[in-house]
Amino acid sequence: MADTMQNYVELQGINKHFGSFQASDNISFTIEKGKLVALLGPSGSGKTTILRMIAGLETPDSGNIVIDGQVVNEIPASRRGIGFVFQNYALFRYMTVYDNIAMGLKVKKIPKAQIKERVDSLLELVSLKGMENRYPNQLSGGQRQRVAFARALAPNPQLLLLDEPFAAIDAKVRQELRSWLKEMIGKLGITSIFVTHDQDEAIEVADEIILTNQGHIEQIGTPEEIYRNPQTAFTASFFGQNAELPDYHDFRSFAELDHVDRVLIRPEFVKVYKQDEKIQYERTASEGIVESVSFRGDRTELRIRVNDAVLAAKRNPGEPAIRAGEAVKVFLYRIFVTRGNEVIPLENLALQTDMVVF
């Protein structure tokens, strides 16, 4: 136990089929103790299957699942030392909040007084004191999720698994719960894996993201790494609100590459200027027409037609307003070029020359 950065969960070459559908294709990864990890991917990418196999709700066709140094393939779900928060919480509807949380302890034949102590402290932790005699349907969505969280934590698991924990909650509460959950898991120091299809959620909450696609892993890394430096074509196209350019040679000034498949550009790589605004790289900017403007409160989202491409861009509230139909100048900082499964980030050459000058 000298190694403090030990791997707590390890998947080794996991394969899983449902009929002819391959849900997991040679999945291998490791998760360090105490980390909060997101399994991210589009629906049908196999992320939930991975979570369910770790939990013991599905059995892999081949490969090993290791938890805390022990191969758990043959160990039933209840003895893997895990807590599981279901997508719809699966709270027992005919039991009170108290009983829901206490059930996992009663099963273990723990003395009543000890159960009460544990449940009370969990109720305090999730700030639901005074709600213990309510039934799940008398609670709000956010409260139900906290009960599900407390119920999963009650038997003191070493690994917490959460299946789309925020999917069933309305947008406003979701934001609060995300920060709450991150904070809570950080405080408890429990190794946690959650499944999500929402990139913002994964980026905001997770220490590490495992990006899945069509049953295999595309990339593993911290949110920053995976967002900034996508290693595969899928990763590059999955993150950010990408626009696709038919031909990037229309835009100055990027390095010339052959055999390009797709050219992707994110809104944050685009800078928009009004005709009368001062622009640093005048020479390399392109002319465009604003197709639509949509106000989003903290920002304005623009769609700008430049040559044959439609770019998405953002504008801050402080900057002079831009109207639909207006002619603007557009400068691209950066683009992602994909060739096969490879991604090549290209910086605008104007920026590089600039660097040399300074």
């Binding site: 939990a55 013991g56 709700l57 039933p76 779900a77 209840s78 003895r79 895990i82 807590g83 599981f84 279901f86 997508q87 719809n88 699966a90 027992f92 509807r93 005919y94 039991m95 059930m103 996992g104 099963v107 273990k108 039934y135 349907n137 008398q138 119920r151 038997p155």
Partner: protein
């Protein structure tokens, strides 16, 4: 009385007045007026006569036979129907669709046909009856026979009540129980049974109420020995054949009240269960 939410709200079927009127007309013609006529006929007797009619020893014995056999049959159906529904929902096996279709047969078959067939099978010379006769058990012309006929009649109620609930049940409940380490017994009693209980109970009460009133299939197999295998509906029938409408209706009124009471208890328990789920306690 009428709850109209807003003055102009689009409805799929136009006119609350019209649809409510049709509902009340049908209910009135088919249910309420006939039931009221029961009361009207009964009150032709003086209270003392009424009491005497409905407490004649033979009549009292027939209530006893009716209730005991109906309750026993409904109880057997409650258990059997639950297992049947479980098997039909949870397992796949060849012939499942046929088995599923067979459940409704007791509804479709004229009850007298079922009665005759069952009687034929269970007399001392019948296929089944002869086997039991060797063990000294008589089925036809005893209460056991009545119960068997009533079980046949009541099969669909519990199965068809429980089946849709089991089908809709989210498998996540059982998975949650599995991860928390519930054994199969605890999972069943704490997680699955509470979910199906309201439907199961309503299936049981419907079967019970239906069995109380069953006549056609029972008369053949019962043997109709007064004080032993004579059911209340048969006593009513006998009174009618003697043109004693007042007696017949007073006995029927007792049966009606009993059925009503059973359904009322059911409704009470149902509403308590649904309160937990709907979130208004």
């Amino acid at each position: 009385m009428m709850k109209r939410k807003s003055t102009k709200k689009t409805r799929v079927i136009p006119g609350f007045g019209l649809s409510f009127g049709i509902t009340m007309t049908i209910l009135g013609l088919i249910v309420i007026i006939p039931l009221c006529s029961l009361v009207v006929f009964s009150v032709q007797l003086s209270p003392a006569e009424l009491i005497r009619t409905i407490t004649r020893p033979r009549v009292l014995a027939s209530y006893g036979v009716s209730f005991v056999t109906a309750f026993a049959a409904a109880a057997v159906n409650a258990g059997m129907g639950l297992i049947l529904a479980w098997v039909l929902v949870r397992y796949r096996f060849p012939g499942k669709r046929i088995m599923d279709g067979l459940i409704e047969l007791p509804f479709a078959l004229p009850t007298a046909v079922a009665g005759i067939a069952l009687t034929h099978l269970t007399t001392e010379n019948g296929w089944v009856g002869s086997l039991f006769a060797k063990l000294g058990i008589r089925i036809a012309y005893t209460k056991t026979g009545i119960i068997i006929a009533l079980i046949f009649i009541g099969i669909p109620f519990v199965v068809r009540s429980v089946q849709p609930v089991l089908e809709k049940m989210d498998p996540q409940y059982e998975e949650a129980a599995q991860i928390l380490g519930f054994g199969p017994v605890r999972t069943y009693w704490k997680v699955i049974f509470p979910e199906i209980f309201p439907a199961w109970l309503s299936g049981f009460t419907l079967a019970f109420a239906r069995c109380l009133g069953e006549y056609g299939s029972v008369v053949f197999i019962a043997g109709n020995t007064p004080f032993k295998t004579e059911i209340a509906p048969l006593v009513i029938m006998a009174q009618l054949q003697e043109y004693d409408y007042a007696s017949a209706t007073s006995i029927a009124l007792v049966m009606l009240l009993a059925s009503f009471l059973i359904l009322l208890i059911n409704a009470f328990i149902q509403s308590r269960a649904s309160k937990k789920v709907s979130g208004i306690v």
